[in-house]
Amino acid sequence: MTLGSFVVRNTFRNKRRSVLTMISISFSLLLLTLMICIWRSFYVDQVAPEASRRLIIRDRVSLAFFLPAFYRDKIRSVQGVSAVAPLTWFGGRYIDDRPEHFFAQLGTDPDEYLKVASDKIVPPDQLKAWQQDRAGALVDITLAKKYGWKIGDRITLQQNIFPTNLDLTIRAIYHRDPPQNALYFNAKYLEEAVPWFKGQAGWYAAQIDSPDSVSRASHEIDDMFRNSPLQTKTESERAFQLGFVASLGNIKAFILGICGAVVFTIMLVSANTMAMSVRSRTREVAVLKTLGFTRRSVLSMFVGESVALAVTGGVLGVLIAIPVIWLMTRSFIGLGIPLAMKVTAPAAALSLTASLTLGLVSGYLPAFNASRMSIVDGLRHIG
């Protein structure tokens, strides 16, 4: 009998205990995997190459201020800028105020927007229909599916920031990977309804022709407006989004705190189980030693058991995390959870490594005690 099969048999000898421990560990690992995935999607994942060439130009002080329309042509004149589109946050209500009915509603220029957002794929005939209808809307396919919208459907966005309701007709549906929770409409339509907004835009998105020009162009744009009444802040799209994430609070500390609690819980649960396991087999260990098993092999036997439990729990946890994250991205839309979030191979590997390490560490002390036990005491033990 090899050490491996010995470990496996012993692990499942007390089935109830092993199963309970594994389930307990798997839920903790599920949480750990969730946290790792959120962390990665916020801070690690790289954006698509087009997006890294996209700059966001906004008022230096606050997004609450609009930029004048003539800024657009000035930005266009900067070397390396291939397209510029205005964007304005409408922030209207659809159905009601509940967070699950929140989605981004942005006014833009249909003629140029898709040159900036080249990662959005729209059928040419739909794009044309959107450009021709001033009250038309372009929506993400995921959003359209959520509300059952089809081309030609009419929807109303209720007033909030702007003192007008918007009656829109769905004219085009776009695909994007990862999906996005957004609707775009013609900003001209809003300008007609709200006279004081005429000739302004919330911010501009500019496409730069090569990655090497991004940093130079962004400095050039800010320098150009340095002495204007409204100074600008130009940053990459990713930095712009991270700004929103940062405003939610100290997310990093929050995630690390939860991870810490989870890791510690797993240690306790796993160490607890191993202690119970060692205790119930005191005599057995003494017998093994009498037969000639060394301390080392007794130690590795128990540590192996602990690792087997932790890793099985870990695999289960990662497997549960896949559907849970899928559900989260679809049901908590609007809470700032990126739709693109999923369990990637590196995230899974990290969780499994964590469970392996935890199994090793938590199993060591009980296993060490077992290996050090004197044979005579062990045989005398009444368990």
């Binding site: 802040k233 700004g243 405003s247 202690a275």
Partner: protein
């Protein structure tokens, strides 16, 4: 007859290691739950304590926040002469036309920039908010480029001490005072003179909002309706308390994340508790059988083991609360969903939070203990005695 609780207590003490580890596991879950509840409680307290029930806030019709409001200054004199407004210390109607903007400030700890609300107000603005107390320096003066900052703004952002200058609008502003707003939403604001602010942001001739102080609660209600019903004004009156109560929705993301995290951790803890209780039952097979022989009934055994599990959970809850107490009052910030600016609030571990934490732990203990206790009660006496 019931088995005395001291039997369970002694058993828990006897197997200290196991008891301690399981209780600690429960404690960690409770800690996480307390932390999230304290966050939400603190946030709600900040909003609920902000409003004065006698203050009527006037906004443009259809807008939900001061930031998205904005109306013509020519309407202000009409508001000032409405009946039911209390008199200020100079015998004038206590009203303030205000201008609210959001600016960017760098965090002191270097973790990026945050939106902060800047409020330009008339001199009555300070009288309208008696909750805000000056703790250092002096209030800003009308006609001067001066600002006062809240205590937590000073602590959390650079360039916000007395004597420093803050850069926003068309130039620099001198910080002349620090105020304490008693944990309300004003705790996240910078205040200055309304005319100075409006001219810096090219918004002369308009106000974001106006505040009116009513003489009593009944006239506050009447004042609110009068503003909203006047067709010429196209304005809307809301009680300040209602306005802030609505902003508690800012806590929604924390709430959802909190529930998910606490739920998952609770499941993990329940299984861990179950494990411990099964082990307890297994070790005491003979003992349980003996108890049965002496005459204790099956329900008594069941109750006893469930009680033991509840005790274990209670121990965990106590440890969790103790672990979290040092964090009580810790200040943090999140984004206000209505104003898009930072709202600063303190973690609050209230009695309600503690009670919820204990209830949460007891539920874990109960669910985790039920199956093992059932198992104990169902044991066959003869087999167990022989075992």
């Amino acid at each position: 007859m019931a088995i005395p609780i001291s039997y369970n207590v002694r058993n828990l003490v006897l197997r200290k290691g196991l008891t301690l580890m399981t209780a600690l596991g429960i404690a960690l879950t409770v800690t996480t739950a307390i932390f999230l509840m304290a966050l939400i409680t603190g946030l709600n307290t900040a909003f609920v304590s902000s409003g004065n029930p006698l203050n009527v806030l006037v906004l443009r019709k259809g807008s939900e926040a001061e930031l998205s409001g904005g109306f013509d200054a020519s309407l202000y004199p009409t508001l000032k002469t409405l009946p039911g407004i209390a008199k200020d210390s100079h015998g004038e109607p206590m009203t303030s036309g205000e201008w609210v903007v959001v600016i960017i400030l760098p965090r002191k700890d270097g973790t990026g920039e945050v939106n902060v609300t800047v409020r330009g107000m008339m001199p009555d603005g300070l009288e309208l908010r008696p909750g805000a107390k000056l703790v250092e320096g002096r209030w800003f003066q009308t006609g001067q480029r001066e600002v006062v900052v809240s205590r937590s703004i000073r602590d959390r952002f650079s360039h916000a001490n007395i004597g420093d200058t803050m850069e926003f609008g068309k130039g620099s502003w001198k910080v002349v005072g620090v105020f304490d707003a008693g944990g309300s939403a004003y705790e996240s604001e910078v205040w200055g003179d309304v005319n100075q602010m409006a001219s810096d942001f090219d918004r002369q001739g308009g106000y974001s909002s106006a505040y009116l102080r009513a003489t009593d609660p009944i006239s506050a209600e009447a004042l609110k309706n009068r503003v909203s019903d006047d067709q010429r004004l196209k304005l809307e009156g809301v009680l300040e308390t209602d306005y802030y109560a609505k902003q508690t929705s800012s806590g929604a993301p924390i709430k959802v994340i909190g529930i998910v995290v606490a739920f998952i951790m609770a499941i993990g803890s329940i299984f861990a508790a179950m494990n411990t209780m099964y082990a307890a039952v297994a070790y005491r097979g003979r003992e349980i059988a003996t108890l049965r022989v002496i005459g204790f009934s099956r329900p008594a055994i069941l109750t006893s083991f469930v009680l033991e599990s509840l005790l274990l959970a209670l121990l965990g809850a106590a440890a969790g609360i103790l672990l979290m107490l040092p964090f009580n009052g810790m200040e943090t910030g999140t984004s206000n969903a209505v104003t898009f600016s930072e709202v600063v609030f303190a973690l609050r571990i209230t009695w309600t939070v503690a009670a919820y934490a204990i209830a949460f732990a007891l539920i874990m203990g109960f669910v985790g203990g039920l199956a093992p206790a059932w198992h104990a009660a169902r044991q066959n006496i003869l087999n167990a005695l022989r075992g």
